[in-house]
């Protein structure tokens, strides 16, 4: 099959990742957030695998495998377990309403496209569009982290962000260390989960602060 075909497929998969990234923003129940994320991870692993195939660089298969096993299966399960274990609310608590979040998301995508547009010389269409999508996924992940109180949703947001990174990484030909990076990130995520569990962070990342604000934080006078 010819290169154009390959590229289009790659874009298609990338677009899927982005799509799931959007979906994450308007989920109202944590369960569905997790499933959506699982799908995104899956899409990512497909993307990685496809790139591995068209760049015939086998090590990307490892990345794909990590994405599939660790993200698409282990993490959602772990989070589900956490939810049960810590009795976290089943519904997503938003700092910013879903509607506005979506709008901002669209704006972010527009911004990232606008940023990538001038990239012309040398860079193939592949990199351009791939990049646009990856960056959008990253920004959306960040957006999710700051518009959601809930610990679990924030973990998800962080991983979505990371998915964007991996997407970008696999998208460009012969990027070294992709595997190591995805491993490193898995470690990070694992630590976060560990932290959530260990420190009993029930509802939110920032809940730790709240009752300390008056006492410790920044030793205000």
């Amino acid at each position: 099959m010819d290169r154009a075909m390959q590229y289009d497929t790659a874009h298609l998969i990338g677009a899927m990742v982005l799509l799931f990234g959007f979906q994450l923003l308007y989920q109202r129940r944590i369960k569905s957030v997790l499933t959506t994320f699982a799908f995104q991870a899956g899409a990512l692993s497909i993307a990685a695998a496809w790139q591995a195939y068209i760049q015939n660089s086998p090590h990307l298969y490892v990345t794909a495998a990590i994405a599939l096993i660790f993200k698409a299966f282990f993490v959602p399960f772990a989070l589900n377990w956490l939810i049960k274990r810590l009795g976290i609310h089943r519904s997503v608590e938003t700092a910013l309403g879903v509607g506005p979040t979506m709008i901002i998301g669209v704006v972010l995508v527009a911004l990232s496209i606008m940023l990538v547009l001038p990239v012309t010389q040398g860079a193939t269409a592949l990199t351009r569009e791939n990049l646009a999508m990856a960056m959008s996924v990253v920004l959306l992940g960040l957006l999710m982290m700051i518009t959601r109180h809930n610990a679990v949703t924030q973990v998800v947001g962080f991983m979505a962000l990371e998915n964007g990174l991996i997407l970008a990484a696999v998208g460009v030909k012969g990027m070294p260390l992709v595997v190591e990076m995805s491993v490193a990130f898995s470690v990070l995520v694992a630590m976060i989960l560990f932290g959530i569990f260990f420190f009993r962070i029930r509802e939110r990342f920032d809940s730790l602060d709240l009752h300390y604000l008056e006492t410790v934080r920044g030793d205000r006078l």
């Binding site: 040398g122 990856a134 990027m175 990076m181």
Partner: protein, 479 residues
Amino acid sequence: MNVHYLVLGIPLIASGLLALISSLRVSTWVNVLASFSCFATSVALLFHRPATTPWLFIDDFNVSLVVLTAFVGFTTSVFSAGYISRERKEGHLNRRNLRFYHAMYQAFLFTMLLALMANNLGLMWVSVEGATLTTVLMVSLYRTREAIEAAWKYFILCSVGIALALFGTILVYLAAQPVMGPGEEAMAWTFVIQASAKFEPSLLSLAFVFLLVGYGTKVGLAPLHAWLPDAHAEGPTPISAVLSGLLLNVALYALLRFKMILSANGSALAPGPLMVAMGLSSLLLAAFMLYKRDDIKRLFAFSSIEHMGIITFAFGMGGALSNFAGLLHMTMHSLTKSAIFFAVGIITQIAGTKNIVGIRGLASSHPVLGWSFLICVLAIAGLPPMGVFMSEFLVVSSTFARQPLLALPIMAGLLIAFGALIWKTQNLVFSKPSIDAGQQYAPWALAPLFAHLALVILAGVWLPEPLVEWFRSVAKMLG
């Protein structure tokens, strides 16, 4: 075999070893010895440079930083020996903690040295992340709620920062790959810098933005600095010393590597203004924050932010003088600030409090400690004949000459910060003593402090020729 493998190997092995040793005295000794031998070997790098590989390399820029890191690592290990043993005695730490602590200490050194020597940008990123993880673990060492909270804040903010930095790195590769073809070379700094003139400028600009925010978080530039004061305050003081003294430098170093690529490329977005803006915001914010500090470690954490601001500003201004000043300031700051944290460690231990208001008249109760602490603070505040003055002299004067309007905020920031530091220190060192002179500390505990102070004063008066040469060549590269 090459020296730098040795420099990297020693801490790596040591950390593995220390994870196994459970006796406090032994592990302390091992820690000190390992750090010392690491420093000793690193000195060899000054005289002969190992060959550059796509993975590791030594050049004018990182050689001085590597030696500095190894040196401060060593002195801090000496200091921590005394500090930790006292903490153990007072039962703040148990045996398991300490084992973990020492292992992590060496691991931390390793990751930083690796980050400095890394030629491959990805490797550099990985090791910076490694440094983050190890320090997170050490900050949470005391297991108090504050400590854990601080560690958590630190961890979350820095992992996001790290992620952004990685994206930036990928973008750089993205820019490099069409020109240099796929493969490791397209990620090795030494090769990239040569080809970067032909890179896609807009990609580089984009990359730099992500890198600035990403690594900037680690450097502690306002408004990305939130993690820094808490991490400094809640961790054990030796860690605060290395955090301020070394980790911030490493992160800044990473950033500067990319700045070089940009300035070599020319047509990409000029990194200067962005860095100047970040630097100024950090300087001014920190300067004002200093006034509200009651916790002595937080006070100096913010002063670190302030100085990182100055350094970033200097590099942002660019030009031979400013860059030179920036490099000098990096060195001087890490020496001075770690010395300050040594003193602070002892002070908090003998005073039994971190609250500045509770500590008075140190010069009367503990003259040696008090005066050396005062001198350290004066040094960091930029009074001659200490090294920081030299760099501030160059920064401010050259800024006045080129951008008088930019000089005003710098001047204001420095003045305000100076005011806060002096006011608080003056009351701490002078006035009627609040600590009873009976509270003793090991006399040799001040040795590392004196070593740093001697270097700082020496540098303020006279700089060795080769160092000057390196700095100038680097300054040229920084554009």
